[in-house]
């Protein structure tokens, strides 16, 4: 087809998604959507295959394609212009019940020509724990409302009985209603803009452009793979929650122009809700693959075709119904994402041509903390602490990871202002900042993560409730690359009341300033009562290269800005300095000593 027309249509498809994303986040009223950007919008062809992947959480691009296909299978010829279908069953396509998909057929002249699909993490889904992450669940039946496909809008009319039934099962019906309506608005915008595009260029030409885009992506991706070395690279990711340790194990093999992700050897499915389904694993591995290997290639079905996955049934990465999966998005899915990021990073680093596109693993332990309870106005409030979206970048072969630099699987993730959380809940932040020593040491340092603490403040009920989940706090997860260290593990501490009174923590500017009993807490539903404090530290990115190769001046600068401790500077980086600067002779001697120690203390394999 005419290359100019092809390019115009391609860019229009990008812009349609952009406008739909703007609509989604501006209509939704929840911090998780319009501040954290825990959302996704994409376009799909008439058969449900991915046409144009959008931004937001990339884990969903392939799963939403499966959602479209599931709706096609279920409703067959009973799909009409103006319909909107809701799907959130993880064993059909979704990642977990609280990530609700709304998929809308797009018709032209009475014929189904495409689909738009979007998701947000609704503020509640009626699971046994508030907020949609339900760490106490032991099966899918206790994880809230779950639909393998239901018509929410019929020919442009909301099915009020369906909507009311859903809202009757959730804790914050007003906010969930707004979430659902924001997705309907988003799909309406996508449908209208697609309609305008087709009206201008014709359905056949737009469809031909879509088919060409997919063919182009497959050709470009296969060509890139063919340039990379053949080999296999391995990674492992631990999860440690509720007294149980599980491991996701990956061998990624690249042969010619194809990639195989083999999760054989991963642990059996867990009694805890950290498991994920096979669709979720597929989404998990594509989330780092798209930005790392296809940053200049359109994310669509063509980029999916060269990739195969083995995920043995009954394991933590392909669990069998009714295994619990409520925490999957911060559990096994993210472990799959991290493992894939690590192996892709190794493969890229093995190529002199592509080495500068390799990355150590980014912020790898995405915690989930949902606060719930009455706000200062006496209304029930429930939402996530968005700091987990702030992330940290992995180091590269030429530079440090970005401090508080976001997340690999969500190019638009971010955290809300402190004031947003303080206005939503009766809490007061004591501090929020970059966390010392949190970025993985290396010739290039992993981006630093953050630390924060808050206390209940002017609460009507003597405090707030919170639900915490994730992958635990015992293991580093942001793997380093080429000798770089991983970012430090997460840390969650509930600090008890101090003997000096309920207001004792208000002047604390660090965890060390707090006086109460410290209780590590990483899983389940808890209370944060007046006089107590909650401290959180999230992991930095992985480092790249031997820390003894880092420019001493940059280490000294990190010490001066509070990102690296004196001890780490001396004993990991081998840099000796003080306020007047680096002592180069002492540094050279210290580095020589540390290299010697490595050999004398180590075991010859």
């Amino acid at each position: 087809m005419d290359p100019m027309t092809f390019s115009i249509i391609r860019h229009r498809l990008f812009r349609i998604i952009d406008e739909a994303v703007i609509t989604l986040k501006h209509v939704s009223g929840t911090a998780i959507t319009n501040e954290g950007h825990d959302l996704m919008v994409s376009l799909y062809r008439a058969d449900g295959t991915l046409l144009m992947g959008g931004v937001g959480f990339l884990h969903h691009l392939t799963s939403a394609a499966e959602a479209c296909k599931a709706v096609i299978r279920r409703f067959k010829t009973d799909i009409h212009e103006g319909d909107v279908f809701l799907l959130n069953d993880p064993y059909t396509a979704a990642l977990h019940t609280s990530d609700v998909y709304l998929v809308s057929p797009i018709h032209h002249a009475g014929k189904l020509v495409a689909w738009s699909a979007c998701f947000v993490h609704v503020s509640d889904i009626g699971a046994m724990n508030p907020g949609g992450f339900s760490p106490d669940s032991r099966d899918i039946y206790t994880e809230g409302f779950s639909s393998p496909g239901i018509r929410l809008v019929s020919r442009g009319e909301i099915q009020q009985d369906v909507l009311d039934t859903i809202l009757n099962m959730v804790r914050s019906p007003e906010m969930v209603s707004l979430d659902l309506r924001s997705m309907i608005a988003c799909n309406n915008v996508a449908r209208e803009r697609m309609g305008a595009l087709i009206a201008k260029y014709g359905a056949d030409l737009v469809d031909e452009a879509g088919a060409t885009l997919i063919e182009q992506s497959e050709r470009q991706f296969r060509a890139r793979l063919a340039e990379l070395p053949d080999g296999s690279w391995q990674s492992r990711q631990y999860i440690d929650v509720n007294g149980e340790t599980a491991c996701v194990r990956l061998t990624m093999t690249k042969t010619g122009d194809e990639l195989l992700f083999d999760f054989s050897g991963s642990d059996p499915q867990s009694r805890n809700a950290i498991n994920c389904t096979k669709w979720a694993s597929l989404g998990g591995l594509f989330a780092p693959l798209f930005p790392l290997l296809c940053h200049d290639i359109t994310w669509n079905e063509g980029a999916i075709r060269p990739v195969k996955m083995i995920a043995p049934e009954g394991t933590i990465v392909n669990c069998i119904r009714p295994a619990p999966v409520s925490v999957a998005t911060v559990g096994a899915i993210q472990s799959v994402n991290n493992a894939a990021c690590a192996t892709i990073g190794k493969m890229l680093s093995a190529s002199e041509k592509y080495r500068d596109e390799a990355s150590a693993v980014w912020h790898a332990n995405h915690f989930a903390i949902f606060m719930f309870g009455r706000n200062r106005k006496g209304q029930y409030a429930i939402d996530i602490l968005t700091e987990t979206f702030a992330g940290a970048g992995g180091a590269r072969s030429f530079g440090d990871g970005v401090d508080i630099g976001g997340e690999m699987p969500n190019p638009i993730s971010r955290m809300a202002n402190v004031e947003t959380a303080e206005s939503a809940f009766p809490i007061l932040y004591l501090f929020r900042r970059r966390a010392k020593d949190s970025g993985g040491p290396g010739e290039y340092r992993g981006g630093t993560g953050g630390e924060m603490a808050f206390v209940p403040h002017r609460s009507l009920d003597g405090g707030m409730g919170f639900v915490i989940s994730g992958k635990g706090a015992r293991h580093p997860m942001s793997d380093g690359l080429a000798g770089g260290y991983p970012g430090v593990p997460n840390r969650y501490i509930r600090v008890g009341k101090a003997d000096t009174g309920a207001a004792a923590h208000l002047t604390a500017r660090s965890l060390d300033d707090t006086a109460g009993e410290r209780q590590p807490i990483s899983w389940g539903m808890s209370a944060l009562n007046d006089g107590e404090a909650l401290y959180l530290r999230w992991n930095g990115g992985g480092g790249y290269g031997d820390p003894l190769r880092r420019d001493p001046a940059r280490v000294q600068q990190d010490v001066e800005t509070g990102q690296v401790s004196d001890e780490a500077a001396r004993d990991i980086y081998g840099v000796i300095g003080d306020a007047s600067g680096v002592n180069l002779a002492a540094t050279e001697a210290r580095r020589k000593e540390l290299r010697k120690t490595r050999l004398s203390n180590g075991v010859r394999k």
Binding site: D230, G231, W233, S235, A482, E567
Partner: protein
């Protein structure tokens, strides 16, 4: 790092040879890592450090049993690779397929 190699498993580990008999080398000092055909980590020096003992204190979770493995060149002491591991876990085995 050395510019004499064209095949790498990682930026720090080069390999030469043919299928089944590749020889790995430290990319910094060209020291052979293990026997031809054997995995390069068998020719490295391994130090397994408990998280609590990593300087700076940021890695100390208060729980024993998790380690950071350091694989170093036996000659120059270059840190070639790291792994987070629980005790007894086999080493990760990255490998090139040579033509």
């Amino acid at each position: 790092m050395s510019g004499k190699y064209t095949n790498f498993i990682l930026p720090t580990v080069a390999v030469e040879g043919s299928r089944g008999a590749g020889q790995a080398y430290c990319a910094t000092c060209a020291t052979a890592l293990g026997e031809p055909g054997a995995h390069w980590k068998t020719g490295s020096v391994l130090t397994e450090v408990a998280l609590a003992d990593i300087p700076g204190g940021g890695y100390d979770t208060g729980f024993p049993g998790v380690f950071l493995r350091h694989f170093c060149c036996p000659n120059c002491g270059e840190l070639l690779d790291t792994e987070t591991s629980e005790a007894g876990e086999p080493a990760l085995a990255d490998a090139l397929v040579l033509s």
